[in-house]
Symmetry: C2
Subunit: 268 residues, 2 copies
């Protein structure tokens, strides 16, 4: 499990696995090292690491797949936010590079279309899909058929592709405006290197307490997400925060960051 | 677990519990005996036992609750088909008689409204509901909100109550017509005593093979459900069958039973 990483995935794994291990992440995403060698499953978010948003380069992806093959582990690739890379050429998914059937690819319509529908998808071997269906039958039988039908039509008629194009253009503008505002008004915070996504991951100086910052910024009308929940370690990391921009109008971004900068400065 | 009993429930329990035990059922439903004393959970379908359709009388319900209290076990009451008792006064649910908080009541909209929506409900203590919600978050987060909203309106505006009244009157007629046709054309089969529901449970003489009967009846346009799947025991019970009538027009019932009787007689 990536550290920092997606807390819901961590909690889901902890429900059935006794030994969930945190694995370090750097500016290229999950670090491929000897720490992977004794694992059964590796969960990773290579497109935009959750929460740091860094993108795993092709070379790291190939190293991860090589390690999976050499040391006999499976990779769960969570491509939770597809099509939102704004800089450079899109890098192939692990699943599309996978020659030995070691990657289970999962995706979601929660980020693009609507989180309330609870619809996603899995790409894996026929045997694994068969087992997953059998297990799903005992858990929820199937997602509601009215939603499945509506979304199947939405996908097959190309509306989702169109939606992704629109989102990409809208997110790209907000990503640029927010990045510029952070550089201008909040140079005290360090941004992790980002090629896209729908949020920024920031760290502040040791004195910054992001739980307190969240409360104080909310009083000024700015909502931020403290980053401590993304860490598995008990001594939570108080200096990290995440700024999501998937549902904020672009013209509110700069004024919001100006306000946030005042609240940050009052704390430092 | 009732024997015979609902196979999906049995498979769901088997996923997490190592010691699922079959418990006998008689003409009053689940038998309350010393066999319950060392159990942690008892799953039961008292309104219309699945699949035998027998109804548990008040006295048996009180005995079951007394045993739960004396021997410290919990009762899962699956009232999967509510409001379909056609004879005599409705008997209170176990949950409504429960004074010591030992009953977890579950119900469903699958039988009344639509199985494809996958919506149901649970009545239990606040603590248990809190835990169930936490667990559900990790499994599916929540049922899709569009369906939850639509069904909440449907329920709150009284449409579901009206639907149940209509179904009850429609099912009652089919139940009577099917019961009469079975008595007239298939006296070789024994019907379990029924006060309602949406199916009949029948057993034939030892020579009857209901898997074969299913295949042969289908060739004549009559679909029946062999009963072996409801038994946990490996030596499957080939002489039982279930006839569901929740989606068959009433005028097709008598001709269908006449046809079925010919196929049965050819086998005996």
């Amino acid at each position: 499990m990536e550290e920092p990483g997606y807390p819901d995935a961590r909690n889901i794994f902890a429900l059935r696995a006794e030994h969930v291990q945190p694995l370090p992440v750097d500016e290229h995403g999950l670090v491929v090292s000897s720490r992977l060698e004794n694992l059964d499953y590796v969960y990773t978010t290579p497109s935009h690491q959750s929460p740091t948003t860094v993108t795993m380069p092709l070379q790291r992806r190939q190293a991860l797949l090589g390690s999976a093959s050499d040391h006999d582990f499976l990779v769960i690739e969570d491509d939770y936010e597809t099509g939102t890379q704004y800089v450079g050429q899109a890098i192939p998914a692990l699943k599309s590079l996978d020659k030995t059937g070691r990657v289970i690819y999962v995706g979601s319509l929660s980020k693009s279309l609507a989180p309330g529908l609870r619809l996603g998808y899995m790409v894996a071997s026929e045997d694994l899909i068969h087992e997953a269906r059998a297990l799903r039958r005992l858990i929820l039988r199937h997602p509601p058929v009215n939603n499945q039908l509506a979304i199947a039509l939405f996908l097959s008629q190309g509306h989702h592709d169109l939606l992704l194009r629109r989102l990409r253009s809208s997110y790209q503008e907000r990503w640029r405006v927010l990045g510029d505002a952070l550089a201008q008004y909040l140079p005290e915070l360090t941004c992790s290197p980002s090629l896209g996504g729908s949020s920024y991951w920031l760290s502040g100086p040791p004195r910054l307490n992001c739980k307190r910052l969240q409360r104080e910024a909310a009083l000024s009308g700015v909502l931020i997400e403290p980053g401590d929940v993304f860490f598995m370690s008990e001594d939570s990391e108080q200096t990290y925060l995440r700024l999501g921009f998937s549902s904020i109008p672009v013209q509110q971004i700069e004024p919001g960051i100006k306000t946030l900068a005042k609240v940050v400065r009052a704390q430092l």
